[in-house]
Amino acid sequence: MARSVSTQRKALNTALAWGIGFMIFFPILWTVLTSFKTEAQAIANPPIFINFDWTLENYGIVMERSNYGRFLTNSVIIAAGSTILGILIAVPAAWSMAFVPSRRTKDILLWMLSTKMLPAVGVLYPIYLLCIQLGVLDNRFALVVILMLINLPIIVWMLYTYFREIPGEILEAARMDGASLKAEILYVLTPMAIPGIASTLLLNFILAWNEAFWTLNLTSVDAAPLTAFIASYSSPEGLFFAKLSAASTMAIAPILILGWFSQKQLVRGLTFGAVK
């Protein structure tokens, strides 16, 4: 039963929440606005909020100068590739753990989680060395595999928590009606699992897109994704706020939009089902 609240109180809540929400969001808003300014307007004091001469010039400069397309392609290939590969490996595993649990299922799940806790820097040199020896330093495929391995525990866990919510009775009913294991999986379980798989896909695409340890340390030119593209702006060069903003906006816009769709799954995915 919802508590009845006075309109006055509701208005106060609204004002406060919007104010704080705006403050937290402000750096993103400011970056997007600055990307449409000229360099001189970008550093103007007092800052100009809306009434500047909107220009797309910065986007042109950034794309021309740094071959934005290649970084974008790399980001898409690495994020999508690692997510899809991870799903292909994780779906059967999560499936069998959810529907044919054994005594060891819990231990295996927790062990998988523990591999996620391994600090990347602890194994930086071995991975770096292996990449050199296999000739895959600065290689997109190597990053696809590495990011898949990093996120695999999260993918398995998310899928497992979704699969466990599918009632077992449905399987029994299908079996009673004479469905084979294959038919059971294809026609009974898959349709029910699609939403869970889609959410997992989305969250892991975001995590892989933003990953900034391996992508910075294992790439230089050929395989460098957007994280590295932005890092190349870390040494300032004259007036560059507007260009930095344009580059940043291009790097975060696609993921912000996807992120807003996935906020519910975020809680489940990153707390390993402990908070739902």
Binding site: M1, A2, R3, V5, K10, A17, W18, I20, G21, I24, F25, P27, I28, T31, T34, I43, I89, A93, S96, M97, S102, K106, I108, L110, M112, S114, T115, M117, L118, P119, V121, G122, V123, L124, Y125, P126, Y128, L130, L149, N210, A212, F213, T227, I230, A231, Y233, S234, L244, S245, A251, I252, L256, G259, W260, L266, V267, F272, A274, V275, K276
Partner: protein, 288 residues
């Protein structure tokens, strides 16, 4: 209900995931352990043989070690403090009836989806730049001298940047937990005359304790590993060298792999201690 047939099928379905993770864990880990007991300088003579635990001792006694631990603790502690305290306040606020709740939620969660390198560079330049940053403009407006954030308050600056990324995460989890609180309990307490503060400390806070623990553990594990935010802001200068960053410098910048690997082993042990606590909570949840 599971038959012998389905059991062996289950094992086969699980095998690829278990196998790749096992390889991913064991191979690099054993290499790190191997390097940590050797004097290994790839650019200066290569592998110079077994040195026992010398690297472990040298890593601890190097002048950079204790400052890096201090920095790490400050950053982890600062980020946790900000994200938990403000996360609880924000979660309570967002749980109140209001107009446009969905939109506010979107605004608050947005920073979590911003790439770490973008976050760090936007804050470093557009906010903390001592000449052209927003903060500098603001300080001048009030007649104060602009602060050179990244060199005069470096740890605070990094904390601010990382906290901005993680506050949304804490808020979202705490909000999810608050929403599962039975509102009738609060109403009953209100009718019995409990003050808002009493209601918060005796009903809301205990209800949140598990979510808070989870936020603490997960954030600690992720914030311990913070890299890009330091890489593109200070590059480890001005006392912002965390344990993670120190190991990175030993391994890739000064190419002292033996020493860096010993540091890596310490980092792995530290993370595992935390992981055990997290896994206990998560494991308990699996049983019901």
């Amino acid at each position: 209900m599971a038959t012998q047939h389905s059991r062996s099928a289950a094992r086969i379905m699980m095998a690829p995931a278990v196998f790749v993770l096992l390889v991913w864990m064991l191979v690099p880990l054993s290499m790190t352990l191997w390097f940590s007991v050797r004097s290994y300088l790839p650019l200066r003579g290569g592998d110079q043989g077994f040195v026992g635990l010398e690297n472990f001792g040298r890593f601890l006694s190097s002048s950079a070690f204790w400052p890096s631990i201090f920095t790490t603790l400050m950053i982890v502690g600062g980020v946790l403090l900000i994200s938990i305290v403000f996360g609880i306040l924000l979660a309570i606020l967002l749980d109140q009836p209001m107009w446009g709740q969905g939109i506010v939620r979107i605004l608050v969660i947005a920073p979590f989806f911003v790439m770490p390198t973008v976050t760090a560079l936007v804050w470093k330049n557009m906010f903390m730049d001592p000449v052209n940053g927003i903060f500098a403009h603001l300080w001048r407006f009030f007649g104060a001298d602009p602060v050179v954030w990244l060199s005069s308050a470096p740890i605070f600056s990094v904390i601010l940047i990382v906290a901005w990324q993680w506050l949304p995460f804490a808020t979202l989890i705490l909000l999810t937990a608050i929403q599962s609180l039975d509102s009738e309990q609060l109403e009953a307490a209100e009718m019995d005359g409990a003050s808002p503060l009493a209601r918060f400390s005796f009903i809301t806070l205990p209800h949140l304790s598990r979510a808070i623990t989870i936020v603490i553990l997960i954030q600690t594990i992720f914030v311990l590993a913070v890299f890009a935010e330091i890489f593109v802001t200070t590059g480890g200068a001005f006392g912002t060298r965390t344990l993670t960053y120190l190991i990175y410098q030993r391994v890739l910048e000064s190419q002292n792999v033996g020493l860096g690997s010993a540091g890596g082993v310490y980092a792995i042990i530290l993370a595992n201690i935390l992981a055990i606590f997290l896994m206990r909570i998560v494991g308990k949840n699996l049983d019901n």
